[in-house]
């Protein structure tokens, strides 16, 4: 099941092995350095990897291996030092300044480890933020936000502020916020790290159920091996390099597909 990932062959292999899948994000030779001169640290050493639409991709590895740096680049929060990045057919290098900001606003949803909900806003208002950023009128944004909250089973908590919600509930609000504007890419950074086992499982089930949609790529950064079973694909990193890529036809996927058929 687990096939060693070979950077040199990955591009060619992806074309054949994944012929029936749509590449959402293609990283080619991504390098990222931090600092200058003697203090320069290379966080990523020429990453070649693809992320597919309609899949949940897990990015795993020990702390400091470069997972967060890689998703920051993929999500348009950091610029790579070198390398090419294709985002849904667009060159990332062409997305600079306002275009990159627009790309994030339109096409990316974020789920953070610490939720990053605005404490002054209630659940609905927090979920409405991406729509407000896109320029929606407040009543319409709040209405859509309420629907998104209902989709994550939190319709009854719509008026609650973050400090009135449990960690798991806050993360579900964050998921609703990340999905309310129907992004093509969902980036989740350690979404279960601050949660107990049950809440963590629930969040992953939710991601699997509502986030993975046709045309949308979902990347989850985690080092929580209890959630590995939810991934369609697991990319392992170590020391700023891709260590392995595992394509899984896991039980959850199979079960889901059986239900669909």
């Amino acid at each position: 099941m687990i096939a060693p990932f070979n950077n040199a062959e990955s591009v060619g292999n992806s074309a054949t092995a994944i012929a029936d899948r749509e590449i959402a994000i293609a990283c080619r030779g991504i390098v990222k350095d931090f600092g200058d001169g003697n203090t320069k640290v290379r966080a990523l050493h020429g990453i070649d990897v693809d992320v597919f639409s309609s899949e949940l991709t897990l990015l795993v590895g020990p702390s400091g291996c470069g997972k967060t740096t890689l998703i920051s680049i993929i999500a348009g929060l950091l610029n790579p030092t070198a390398g090419d990045l294709d985002l849904f057919g667009m060159k990332q290098s062409q997305l600079r300044g306002p275009k990159l900001v627009d790309f994030r606003a339109q096409s990316v949803g974020f789920v953070f480890q610490q939720y990053n909900l605005l404490p002054a806003l209630n659940a609905t208002e927090n979920v409405a933020i991406p729509l407000l950023i896109q320029g929606w009128k407040r009543p319409a944004a709040l209405k859509a936000a309420l629907s998104a909250l209902e989709a994550v089973d939190l319709g009854s908590r719509a008026e609650q502020r973050p400090n009135q919600l449990s960690g798991g509930q806050q993360q579900r609000v964050a998921i609703a916020r990340a999905l309310v504007h129907q992004p093509r890419l969902l980036v989740c950074d350690e979404p279960t790290a601050a949660l107990d086992a049950v809440s963590g499982q629930r969040v992953m089930e939710l991601l699997k159920k509502v986030a993975v949609q046709p045309g949308r790529a979902v990347i989850v950064v985690t080092h929580d091996d209890r959630v590995f079973g939810y991934g369609d694909r697991i990319i392992s990193m170590a020391d700023g390099r891709i260590e392995s890529v595992e394509n899984r036809e896991n039980e959850l996927n199979s079960a889901g597909k059986r239900e669909e058929s």
């Binding site: 967060t68 900001v101 790309f103 994030r104 610490q114 605005l118 404490p119 806003l121 208002e125 896109q134």
Partner: protein, 379 residues
């Protein structure tokens, strides 16, 4: 997103009130201390401020202020009257005297002697009694604060007497007057009587008050009189600033008060600026999350500026309101009579708080705009 900025600002009530009151206390410090300084300086020029019916003051050429006076001669009055463009010119007496009341207690007083015929320089507002009664024998009018200095909290009773230079004076009225720098009562009487209330000198006329004919400006008249008589002349406004200037140059008040105001300004600035700066800093992670979600720098800037404007306006309103309330609450305190919030100080405080908020916003914005949105991925 303005709505989100508003909610971020007001959502945490304690933080919001802390920020607004930080600015408010900054404004209070700046405006209250400056108002008291302005009030003190105003007190030094009380005599010139209260004479509203004469536009030109004539005095000895070496005079330095309104209290150290070398009297003029009667000839000087006639010379002034002879200058072309003078509508009228009258005597004005101002001196310190000692007033002894019925109980034997006494106080130093400012004695003002008004021209017997015209009463030019008389108080503008009478609180009790009538200005016309000043023409009665031995009549005096005392300012309200002066009455309290002389007779304490006793109810106002016209007809009571006091002694100056062993001569009897009868109280015929209570007036409103600008409080003097020294907390002395101000006693108004006729010129002919005033000279009796102080120990005799050969020359007694402190000032000549002159007024220009129609078509002649006070400044022109002042220049003409100075040229013809070799006396020092000042228009009313010039005389006020002349006195204030003397106290600014020759006393420690401006330095000491200047330090107090500067400290008030620095502390006020620090409180107002720092509280808003810290407010933005505490929200940095939230701004980072918004930035990651695709909020543009322009929109973020507008959000911070909106928050700054709201904090500035409400803080200023509360601060200036507290200052006004302070002066309103102390308006009946005799020792604080005459202190108020001048509109110029209110306007200056508005400019100051505006600058402070702009500076704090600029510093906060710098942090926000330089913020790496990837910060949101750091736990």
């Amino acid at each position: 997103m303005n709505w989100v900025a508003w909610k971020m600002l007001t959502g945490d009530r304690a933080k919001y009130l802390g920020t607004v009151f930080g600015v408010a206390f900054g404004v209070l410090l700046i405006s209250q201390q400056t108002s008291i300084f302005v009030g003190l300086m105003r007190r030094t020029a009380h005599a010139a401020i209260d004479v509203r019916d004469a536009q030109v003051w004539v005095m000895d050429p070496y005079q330095q202020n309104a209290d150290e006076i070398k009297p003029l001669s009667e000839t000087d009055l006639n010379r002034v009257r002879g200058v072309e463009g003078v509508e009228w010119a009258v005597r004005y007496f101002k001196s310190l005297a000692r007033a002894k009341i019925e109980t034997g207690s006494f106080r130093q007083v400012f004695l003002i002697g008004l021209d017997d015929h015209s009463l030019i320089g008389a108080p503008v507002k009478m609180l009790d009694g009538s200005l016309a009664n000043l023409r009665r024998p031995d009549a005096i009018i005392v300012d309200k604060s002066g009455y309290e200095y002389l007779w304490g909290k006793e109810p106002i009773r016209l007809g009571r007497t006091l002694e100056m230079n062993d001569r009897r004076a009868v109280l015929v009225g209570i007036c409103e007057a600008t409080a003097p720098f020294q907390t002395f009562p101000i006693i108004y009487t006729r010129y002919s009587q005033a000279v009796q209330f102080v120990a005799g000198e050969r020359k007694v006329m402190s000032f000549v008050l002159a007024h220009p004919q129609q078509g002649v400006t006070p400044k022109d008249l002042s220049t003409r009189i100075a040229e013809r008589t070799n006396l020092m002349t000042k228009t009313r406004t010039e005389f006020i600033w002349f006195i204030v200037g003397y106290y600014m140059r020759s006393t420690g008040i401006p330095v000491n008060f200047g330090i107090t105001i500067a400290l008030g300004f620095i502390v006020g600035t620090a409180i107002a600026g720092q509280t808003f700066y810290l407010f933005t800093l505490e929200n940095l992670k939230q701004f980072g999350a918004l930035k990651a979600m695709g909020l543009s720098d322009r929109r973020l800037t507008l959000m911070v500026l909106l928050q700054a404007t709201v904090v500035g306006l409400i803080g200023y309103g509360l601060g200036i309101g507290m200052t006004a309330l302070f002066f309103e609450a102390t308006s009946n305190v005799t020792a604080l009579a005459g202190f108020y919030l001048p509109w110029q100080v209110a306007a200056g405080a508005a400019v100051a708080v505006g600058l402070i908020i702009v500076l704090a916003s600029f510093l906060s914005l710098r942090k926000v705009l330089l913020l790496e949105p990837a910060i949101v991925f750091r736990g």
